[in-house]
Symmetry: C2
Subunit: 110 residues, 2 copies
Amino acid sequence: MIRGFRFSEPQELPEHGVTVVFVELENTKIELLHPLGDKSPIAGFLAKNTSGGIHHMCIEVDDIEAAVKTMKEKNVRCLTEKTRIGAHGKPVMFLHPKDCAGVLIELEQT
Amino acid sequence: MIRGFRFSEPQELPEHGVTVVFVELENTKIELLHPLGDKSPIAGFLAKNTSGGIHHMCIEVDDIEAAVKTMKEKNVRCLTEKTRIGAHGKPVMFLHPKDCAGVLIELEQT
């Protein structure tokens, strides 16, 4: 049997333009995203990926300001000037996919 | 600081048409894929995603034959008739992205 999955209640994040549900596995979480509002940042992704797909990967970091500084020093572009508050109430920062092998990466403060 | 990453040595998997490197994080692994040979199954993905991207997600299961049976009962299509041996020397099975919200999912026996 596949190990037990736990599903969170849907959570609307108007600032991020998404509704999220977390699927908790033993050692990781899968975040299901649904567009919220007219200008959802995932609308373009869904237009390109009509069946859905893997939108981004999140890496937890101990100190997001230090991690962002390290990324900037390595010429990895950040998508916003400053961190924003993510689905867990902690600061997050998205990195430019072109600087991360085509992968949209979210850093999240633990 | 971002938590420490460990990189494995590159490993050629001719049967799968890829060379892999594993990046080990605290509670997960990222598998870097590079096409191997003329008929690599990831060639099409790289043609569509010229900067790279997230190719698939792997979920470990205790009993892959039971998991495959469950998937079939739920009308989730498997990409091969039988399991094959993956990068860790354990049986793996890929599920059809169209049946998994556009996501290519690999099941791997723990």
